[in-house]
């Protein structure tokens, strides 16, 4: 029985596909020809630009060049790497891997490539250095007799509001302060920015009350000192840790 099996499998071994010399040489020739073709296309492009003063758009250049590269890759995979006459599982692995790659590059490009469409209608929500929720607004300022509309970044107002409500009111004016206060009422404690991390709050009443949040150094350093680099913050944090 086992001898019979061995014989059968021994027969199987003969079935490994042997690539013919013609196939291998022909594939090499096509690969070299395609390589020459991609370079030739560059010269054709230059010639077209010179003769008809028409520059081939980049997307077309990229599409043609990458298509030729893909054809070359398929030839190498199918004939040099024997996928055409091989266990289909190997092809499946490779295709699955390419699918993962497609997701990786596709979703990344989709994100980065379409941010231009999102920014315009999110513009008023976006602030360099963080977005203190609801704390930006436009104020009208009189300058040289003309009324100007200014977009104010009210991170400072947030910290003033947290630390010293009187200063905030004086800075913003009564009406604006009411507005900030009104908006900040729900959000200020949740707001985080590059200068200040979000104070810990939770749904459980009194859970965090034992820790007084007023004196944490993030607010001290953040307010009004936007130029501070990260290194300095890091050093401060380290010093604090050491003293505890």
């Amino acid at each position: 029985m086992s001898q019979h099996n061995e014989a059968a499998h021994g027969h199987d071994e003969e079935h490994h596909h042997v690539s013919s010399m013609f196939t291998l040489s022909f594939v090499l020739l096509i690969l070299l020809a395609l390589t020459v073709l991609t370079f030739a296309l560059g010269f054709v492009e230059a010639w077209i630009a010179q003769t008809w003063s028409w520059t081939i758009p980049t997307w077309l250049n990229v599409a043609v060049v990458m298509s030729i590269a893909t054809v070359k890759a398929v030839l190498v995979l199918a004939y040099f790497m024997h996928l055409r006459h091989d266990n289909a599982l190997n092809t499946l692995f490779f295709v699955a891997c390419l699918f993962a790659f497609a997701l990786f590059i596709g979703l990344t490009m989709l994100d980065l490539g379409t941010r231009g469409r999102v920014y315009p209608y999110k513009a008023e929500l976006i602030n360099a250095g963080g977005n203190s929720v609801g704390l930006t607004d436009s104020v009208e300022v009189e300058r040289d007799g003309e009324t100007e509309k200014l977009q104010i970044v009210t991170n400072e107002a947030l910290f003033d509001w947290v630390k010293n409500p009187e200063v905030a009111e004086a800075r913003l004016g009564e009406k604006m302060y009411e507005k900030v206060l009104g908006k900040a009422h729900h959000h200020a404690e949740q707001a985080s920015s590059a200068q200040m991390s979000r104070p810990a709050t939770g749904v459980t009443a009194g859970l965090f009350d034992a820790v007084a949040p007023a004196e944490h150094h993030g607010a001290d350093h953040g307010a009004g000192h936007n130029d501070h680099d990260d290194g300095e913050h890091g050093d401060d944090g380290h010093g604090d840790d050491g003293s505890h």
Partner: protein, 232 residues
């Protein structure tokens, strides 16, 4: 027959020096037969190759992202490269891929001399590729200050983001070159084995799998080279 071999009972022909080593090859005891062992090893190799592809996928995505953000720097970048070196290196790698594919055929048909010769040509091609890369490309560019990131000191740069282009260029091509070096070492190892008669119709797993690795190196270059040299 004076040889004392603990596995003599499973390898009856082991001591027979007249028989080539590939004929005496016995698959691992946990395999049903040599064919299954060969297929299993190849599946493992393909799985490894997918991880290699995903390694380079990161570099390709880095290229795409930075190209999208700083197109001018990348247009300048591709103009700094000499297409002739890219062309020669592409042809050299394609030729080596051909000789490696041929060497698998040689092993299958028990053509030992041709097998050794083709593997040798492949290793030489790898060497030529690296020589061109280092002598004509990396060397002069590095000397001119065309370096990645903070090492950048090229005085005639036209775009502030050219250091990023060089970062992508050196990153992608150097990791590829490292694969060429590893591939050459593996091919040399297979070549030495082939000289000793280790590979033949019944057993050529290493020839096949090292060949697959070398083809992947070629495959990566097929895409790297238009991205770096041709698109402008």
């Amino acid at each position: 027959m004076a040889t004392i071999d603990s596995q003599q009972h499973t390898r009856p022909a082991l001591a027979d020096r007249a028989v080539p080593r590939w004929q005496r090859y016995v698959p691992g005891h946990h395999w049903k037969n040599a064919h299954d062992e060969f297929e299993g090893a190849k599946i493992g190799m393909w799985l490894f190759l997918t991880t290699e592809v995903l390694l380079f996928a990161g570099l390709f995505v880095a290229y795409a992202v930075f190209r999208m953000k700083y197109p001018e720097a990348f247009i300048n970048g591709s103009h700094y490269l000499d297409w002739r070196f890219g062309f020669i290196n592409t042809c050299v790698l394609l030729l080596s891929s051909f000789t490696v594919a041929w060497s698998v055929r040689n092993a299958q048909l028990d053509e030992r001399d041709k097998l050794v010769r083709n593997l040798f040509i492949s290793v030489v091609c790898g060497g030529v590729f690296l020589a061109i890369k280092f002598i004509f490309e990396y060397g002069p560019k590095w000397a001119e200050g065309k370096r990645p990131g903070s090492l950048f000191s090229y005085p005639n740069a036209e775009n502030a983001y050219e250091p990023i282009w060089w970062g992508v260029y050196y990153g992608a091509t150097a990791i590829h070159a490292a694969h060429v070096v590893i591939g050459m070492a593996l091919l040399t190892w297979v070549m030495v084995g082939a000289m000793k008669g280790k590979y033949g119709p019944k057993h050529y797993t290493s020839v096949e799998n090292v060949g697959l690795y070398w083809h992947l190196v070629d495959l990566i270059w097929i895409f790297l080279f238009p991205l770096l040299y041709l698109i402008h």
